[in-house]
Symmetry: C2
Subunit: 201 residues, 2 copies
């Protein structure tokens, strides 16, 4: 057990080391770094976190993080409002946005169905997705969940719920990552890439 | 450039990514992790940092971090108050304390002499160290600075200042780290280990 020269330091290190991937050594390094900065810098950091925690809003339509009632994407008239991309969380929205290739809307589930973690369909924003589709006007729902067992389960559950509506259901292509080597591709991925092979133009 | 769905999120990520070794991707991951926690947890983290920034004190004797005017080490009557270990910063105090082999006092310089970074002797707590020695009662000053050019320069500068007093000046032994392999030890270290070789008992 480390001995800290100050209880204030010890408490700060304990709090920072609660962050994922940050152990006590790294936490100590970060806190001592902060101590070397101006007091204002530490206040800026803390204020930005408190401000986020207290004032964060979620879009009432797609449940993405937003500063307003309806987020910038949902309220943008130039986006294609006939397509919804279903993602697990907020950073997935940012990942898809960063491709610069998607002009439709999103729907953030807030997780995936995971019996092991005790997360069922009722814990996710599935009903509100079905409601959006039921309202009409949606032509395609793209599933962009992680290619895991839980992601596939969630895909399957939602697609069954949406089957009764006249809407195209698609999922992201699975295959070999661009730049990957065949030699190091696992057999499941390689198998899927083979069965979903694409005709050369 | 990433597009953030919320300016509050963007600001928090910008602040967190100012920490050393934390890029924007990691910062985003940390902030989104915090958002998934209870509001109270974020407040606890922020409060601990603000509390540290606003209330931190430094020991008036050794300049180590302290909750009181004089730190627990300096005011501990069971410590050997005839020996001072000179270190660069607070985490070095913790490193030496964690060995459990040192029972003397400390003196935190707050850095080392580094002309490239514009740090001269006047920026460090050197005068107060000389004053402590001049006061009398100190038998040994142990230099525990990093074995770098700047550390050696600082050793040299301070030892010249202390030469006029009747005090033993020592430095940490340099040699091969315990557990290291000779094959991978650099030649300077190996050379020093050779010239400072120890008689087998």
């Amino acid at each position: 057990m480390d001995t800290y020269p100050s209880r204030l330091l010890e408490r700060a290190v304990a709090e920072v080391s609660k962050l994922p991937g940050i152990g006590r050594k790294t936490a100590l390094r970060l806190v001592l770094h902060l101590l070397r900065q101006e007091k204002k810098d530490i206040h800026d950091l803390s204020d930005s976190l408190i401000n986020l925690a207290d004032n964060v809003k979620y879009c009432t339509v797609c449940h993405n993080l937003s500063d307003t009632e309806v987020c910038d994407i949902c309220s943008n008239p130039r986006r294609d409002n006939t397509t919804i991309c279903v993602v697990e969380n907020i950073s997935n929205v940012m990942s898809v946005e960063n491709t610069g290739q998607y002009r439709g809307l999103y729907h953030v589930l807030g997780g995936v169905i995971s019996p092991i973690d005790g997360i069922g369909p009722a814990d996710l924003e599935i009903d509100s997705l079905v409601a959006r589709v039921a309202e009409g006007g949606i032509k395609e729902v793209i599933f962009a969940l992680n290619p895991t067992m839980d992601g596939d389960t969630t895909n399957f559950y939602i697609s069954r719920k949406l089957k009764e509506y006249d809407v195209l259901l698609t999922t992201l292509a699975r295959g070999i990552s661009v730049g990957d080597e065949l030699e190091y591709t696992d057999e499941v991925t390689l198998g899927r890439a083979l069965s979903n092979r694409i005709r050369l133009e």
